[in-house]
Symmetry: C2
């Protein structure tokens, strides 16, 4: 396709391994994929090549199985979502993360994906971010919680909730390449955000909106904390 020219004409492409799982938040994955995909190869990793459903039921197709994942990824990436708690209890996912994490140049996440990295033992003693509703689980996972949009600690880079994946992707691009490359990607995706409302954090949103959001988010944090407390290793 003519559109893939934009990828193939870029030289010295880096490789980003993006782990899929059922119930991931679509935008957690696609924000970084779109930003990083301009300059890098984005592999969508899963146990098989069967479609994987996002939390709203739309399905995406893996490009590469866990077994066929390249040995040394430039970036290992994990999205978040309502399915994170179930993924934390999936031995195949946890084993893949801990093994791949040994050789990946950067170990990264967006949203509750950092709790999944923590479950795999990849954030012990590392500063990390997560979705505002998941900081209890992040701390229980062994990470040092930092309530920032994007947190960089050595080769661990994590973003906050969902839309933070765009800020995360641009920051990671600056680390992988340079600031001008990140700025070029920012211009290509016209990232000049203009939210019509100011409700992107609990303090900005206020108690009424917070309660409505929690009705949707449910008890994700408590469920993930319970999963972490019951882990045997």
């Amino acid at each position: 396709m003519s559109d893939v020219i934009t990828s193939t004409k870029i030289e010295n492409r880096f490789t980003v391994g993006m782990v899929l799982y059922p119930g991931m938040t679509f935008l957690d994955l696609v924000g970084p994929q779109t930003v990083l995909g301009i300059f890098g190869e984005t592999l969508l990793l899963w146990k098989s090549l069967e479609p994987v459903a996002t939390e709203t039921g739309n399905t995406i197709n893996p490009t590469t199985t866990f077994d066929n994942c390249p040995d040394e990824l430039d970036v290992l990436f994990v999205p978040g979502g309502y399915g994170t708690n179930a993924a934390m209890q999936d031995e195949a996912i946890i084993n893949f993360l801990s093994e791949t994490g040994r050789s990946a140049r950067y170990i990264t996440s967006v949203c509750s994906g950092s709790v999944l990295l923590g479950m795999a033992g990849l954030l012990d003693g590392y500063k990390a971010a997560t979705h505002w509703a998941c900081y209890g689980a992040l701390e229980a996972s062994g990470a040092i919680p930092v309530r920032e949009r994007v947190v960089v600690d050595r080769n661990r880079i994590s973003g906050g909730g969902v839309t933070a994946g765009i800020d995360f992707g641009l920051k990671l691009l600056a680390e992988l390449r340079d600031e001008n490359t990140a700025k070029t990607a920012q211009l290509v995706v016209e990232y000049d955000p203009k939210p019509a409302f100011s409700a992107g954090t609990p303090s900005l949103a206020g108690p009424e909106i917070f309660d409505s959001a929690m009705k949707i988010l449910g008890d994700m944090d408590a469920q993930m904390i319970a999963t972490l407390q019951s882990r045997t290793i």
Copy 2:
């Protein structure tokens, strides 16, 4: 899946028909899908149920064929991307858009998707936005170009390039429901953007970054203008 609970527990759900095509920009689709999918049903529409490739080659699966699309959508949505020019020359897509556009409550787009709507005759005399690099084609399509992040003109709502889909989605949600619903979605997706750099528009980015971005974007605008000039109707 437990994660779909978040969708099924919402009452009076609206239906958003999102048109897929090869070479669409993944984030153009998924920004709005994630925001609107919290409160609405998002149908991914294509000629068949075969996978459709985004511009970086990752594939997504349609949920509904053009033939099986509900008669009266609350929202008809079209993403943009490097594949827009080819989609403008695809009779099946143009016919589907013009037919569905007769009954849809809102006719909407992100990025160069507005040029595709214009090609289908759905923006004649309507104000609309597009990606900063595509305003020539938008004007040639019969729309009234407005260089804003999100443009609302009667029941036409269009967003700027790629990441504008999140601002677009929240604005549309406020139109479909109310401001508090949009704020709730904004909090759920933690939309409190913090770009590390200020390069989201040509004027902010400056000439050097602009040239790098144009090397990636290529002559999309000129190609779409040529397609519009050669249309027979």
